[in-house]
């Protein structure tokens, strides 16, 4: 049995390792045009800022793949011949397979802005984007970043570390407020401004202006203001990368359509991670998950299913984390940006405004916890949400969940006092 995996990102790797665990004798081929070995995509920014070398971003030593008998092929797949069970490669011999996993990840969104294909305009997702950024920073003094999400703020931090003046256009009235409640969002606004980034809220990109040689020279905002710049970062989200699947006749919607075992409509072809769209029967919306952790978990389950086990993907209790310049963020369970009917929000912020916690309850049980500038235990918060613990129970045990380094100022007493006051 020969399994081919397209993509060596976290999903492809998780799948390969899970197949190897359950099928010690199967042949596994992992194909990537981007890099010879798996690297950590979230670490791309650290290469650019000089925190790490490229090789430091590789989670496994190169010998690991040989030891686990996972063959690596460097190259781009032009087409999937699902009927002929082979992959047509660019300038390489075809790769045959018995089972196939598509783990092609995401692509940066481009919304048809005038000038979006000018030189100096780019997204930030891949090693190719990183290399392009190396070209684009040559001679650059200022940049405009469009789109207030996680990649946008990372790109702002990266360019800022090269002394490039960054203007950050955010469509919403506050940073990432389509995900974060206003208090947390404003905390990040302050962090952005403190770094000297020119943050423009409720401002959209209207068009990108170029010069005669086809290079960007500035942008026009929705407020008809012209901002001169040599780099435009387009970071208005990502979409499932379905180009290959679409071209090969595999059924797609926004992503590659799969069931809860990551099977596509085509026999023996699976898809998981950012590129997959899990079809939900009935009322619910289809599920597209595009963060590191879901990619890893989906890949693991897809690998199990491919290896012949009866696994079903369970998204479990949501969790995520990020870092906005120096401000850390962790979230567990369901915390909406705007509270809905039936939910209660309890919020504490440190007097110096550097730390906060939000606990959300629904039907008398804690359903979500969000911390900024604090570290909280994944396992404990997850168990509180899963076990539908009451706010009282959570407050009584809040200190157990603190995951800050030793000697850090413990704020739990203040938090409990404040939240009990709000709950009274």
């Amino acid at each position: 049995m020969r399994v081919a995996i397209i993509g060596n990102g976290v999903t492809g790797v998780a799948a390969a390792l899970s197949i190897r665990r359950h099928q010690p004798n199967w042949e596994i081929v992992m194909i990537s045009g981007e890099s010879s070995f798996h690297y950590s995509r979230p670490a791309l920014m650290y290469i650019f800022m000089g925190h790490m070398s490229y090789k430091d971003t590789k989670p496994y030593e190169d010998s690991f793949w040989r030891k686990n008998r996972i063959d690596l092929v460097r190259g781009w797949v032009n087409e999937i011949d699902a009927a002929g069970k082979k992959l047509i490669m660019h300038e390489k011999d075809p790769v045959s397979f018995d089972k196939l996993l598509i783990a092609t990840g995401s692509r940066s969104n481009k919304f048809g802005w005038p000038g979006q294909d000018l030189d100096g305009v780019q997204g930030f997702y891949s090693l190719m984007d990183l290399r392009l950024l190396y070209e684009n920073v040559k001679g650059a003094r200022s940049a405009v970043i469009v789109g207030g999400g996680l990649i946008g703020i990372e790109l702002a931090e990266m360019l800022h570390s090269r002394n490039i003046h960054v203007t950050f256009l955010v469509r919403e009235k506050s940073y990432w407020t389509n995900v974060l409640p206003i208090e947390e969002s404003q905390m990040i606004n302050r962090v952005i401004l403190e770094q000297g980034i020119d943050l423009r809220l409720t401002t959209e990109l209207k068009e990108i202006a170029g010069n005669d040689s086809g290079r960007v020279r500035g942008v026009v905002t929705s407020k008809d203001e012209f901002i001169e710049c040599e780099i435009v970062g387009l970071t208005a989200g990502v979409s499932p990368n379905i180009v290959l699947a679409e071209a090969s006749g595999i059924k797609t919607g926004r992503g590659i359509l799969v069931d809860w075992g990551f099977r596509t409509d085509t026999p023996d072809v699976f898809a998981a991670g950012d590129c997959a769209e899990i079809v939900t029967e009935g009322e619910g919306r289809n599920l597209i998950q595009q963060v590191w952790y879901t990619g890893k978990n989906q890949g693991k389950v897809a690998g199990e299913v491919m290896a012949g086990r009866q696994s079903v993907y369970d998204p479990g209790i949501w969790y995520n984390s990020a870092k906005f310049f120096d401000l850390e963020y962790q979230t567990y369970g369901m915390v909406r940006n705007v509270p809905v009917e039936g939910e209660s929000n309890f919020y504490w912020e440190h007097p110096d405004r550097s730390r906060s916690i939000r606990i959300v309850t629904r039907d008398g049980a804690v359903c979500g916890i969000k911390v900024m500038g604090l570290r909280y235990s994944h396992r404990i918060c997850e168990s509180w949400v899963a076990e539908r613990r009451s706010l009282d129970y959570v407050l009584d045990h809040l200190g157990d969940a603190n995951f800050d380094p030793e000697f850090y100022e413990k704020c739990e007493a203040e938090i409990i006092k404040e939240i009990r006051k709000q709950a009274a």
Partner: protein, 464 residues
């Protein structure tokens, strides 16, 4: 996939991603310039006096060097970090020659190495510097400065000025601040002032913060008989102190806190590594191969010093009847190759090439003992926060002991490694809040099989 394909012949490994172009920086502030000028003045004073110019050898001459060098450096670091937002400060580490084995790094390595060679074998080359610190030596210990006093002085100053740098760099992190204050305190008090003041009162020069097997002579029969015969009660106390530290404090404190209680809070070697060595911590080799070499070398050194100590005692008990001169030559060999070349020349000289903990990782027999205790009989562990790891590798990169922390973190496992000195930097640099240093309530729950320490130790020996 049209937009992503920029180049089919893209080789990220060969490309290496070196420094991207940088827009012009704001020029150095007036304060920083002034600090550097003051430092430069101090160095000039040192050079002139070392070549014999007045007022070398006087208090005035000493202060003309010490004050500008100390305050110039301290203020430079202070101002350099003051203008920044508190947080992790690792921008450009891999772009600078000094911190990424460039020309400057090698140059500094050669200078450090040269200094140690002069210190051990050609102290006459340091005569100029020794003369400058002479007034302080006379005041502290009552005797003229020699190369070792000069070395201890420089060492303490280095721990202090770079300690200030650590305070500024980690001013958002109380663990780092307290730990840095601790190594500064033990270096100044226990490794510099007390030994010298003991000499002033005609007592043996004794380092309370070092003990067997890092300071093997403290359990050698010759040293002990010297202490026993020393007039006054202090000699007996020092024997007692050394024995307590080795046989009681070491296992007990390591049980409760891990080896960090010593390696990154008390020890002078650790103190220098954690202060002056901090800019070089990322240079440690993280490969499995390096780990294997480390285990063999460090445990061989431990066996060597244990054998030497035992032989010296047998020799002393039998008045040389059994081994004759053999144990003495072992002792000399150890002193030369391990004490001088390994801990000094390679240990500090190679900071800019192999990272700040070469000696601690590959050579120190006390670290080996503490490590075995920490691995099998300690409550200390680094825990992983659920599944929050995204494998970025900051933890592994900045582990001065070359531990591939990420390999454990991405599997959600505790990090229980003999070599971990508990510096806490992995937890500090983690951008997702994944790592935490902890002293648990028991040693039993740290890894599968931890409840049977002896069994786990024997198992690991089988797989060595």
């Amino acid at each position: 996939m049209e937009q992503n394909i920029i180049d089919y012949d893209f080789d990220e490994e060969a490309l290496g991603f070196e420094e991207p172009e940088k827009a012009p920086a704001e020029p150095l502030g007036i304060g920083e310039k002034l600090s550097l000028a003051v430092l430069g003045f101090g160095i000039l004073m040192f050079a002139l006096q070392a070549m014999g110019m007045p007022p070398g050898g006087t208090w005035a001459g000493f202060l003309l060097v010490l004050l500008p060098v100390f305050f110039g450096t301290v203020f430079y670091f202070y101002l350099d970090f003051k203008g920044t937002v508190p947080g992790i400060k690792h921008d450009n580490i891999y772009f600078r020659g000094l911190t990424n084995k460039g020309v400057l790094g090698w140059l500094v390595g050669i200078v450090f190495t040269g200094f140690y060679i002069a210190l051990y074998w050609f102290p006459e080359y340091l005569a100029g510097g020794i003369k400058i610190v002479n007034p302080l030596s006379l005041a502290l210990s009552g005797s003229p400065a020699n190369n070792w006093f000069f070395y201890g002085f420089l060492y303490t100053i280095a721990v202090f000025v770079f300690g200030v740098r650590m305070f500024m760099k980690y001013r958002h992190n109380r663990y780092q601040k307290i730990r840095t204050a601790s190594v500064m305190f033990f270096q100044l008090g226990f490794a510099f002032l007390i030994p010298n003041i003991l000499m002033l009162f005609n007592q043996p020069e004794f380092y309370l913060s070092y003990f067997w097997p890092l300071k093997p002579e403290y359990l050698f029969p010759g040293t002990l008989s010297y202490f026993v015969n020393h007039p006054g009660g202090l000699g007996m106390f020092l024997i007692f102190w050394g024995a307590v530290m080795t046989f009681i404090a070491t296992p007990l404190l390591t049980y409760y806190f891990g080896k960090r209680w010593y390696c990154s809070w008390v020890c002078g070697c650790g103190g220098l590594a954690e202060t002056m060595g901090d800019p070089f911590r990322q240079l440690s080799d993280k490969s499995k191969k390096a780990w294997r070499i480390e285990r063999w070398i460090v445990h061989s050194v431990l066996v060597f010093i244990v054998v030497t100590t035992v032989l010296l005692w047998v020799n002393s008990a039998t008045s040389g009847a059994v081994f004759g001169e053999a144990s003495m030559s072992l002792k000399k060999w150890y002193g030369f190759y391990i004490g001088a070349i390994f801990s000094g020349v390679i240990g500090v000289g190679f900071y800019p090439i192999m990272g700040s903990r070469v000696w601690c990782r590959f050579g120190c027999p006390l670290a080996a003992v503490l490590g075995i205790l920490q691995r099998y009989l300690s409550r200390f562990r680094i825990t992983t926060n659920g599944d929050q790891c995204m494998s970025c590798g900051n933890c592994s990169t900045y582990c001065e002991m070359g531990i591939d922390v990420r390999a454990y973190a991405q599997k959600g496992e505790n990090i229980i490694r003999a070599s971990c000195v508990g510096c806490g930097v992995c937890a500090a640099v983690c951008p997702r809040g994944v790592l935490k240093l902890e002293n648990g309530g028991t040693f039993k729950d740290r890894f599968p099989g931890a409840d049977r320490p002896l069994g786990a130790l024997i198992d690991s020996l089988k797989h060595a």
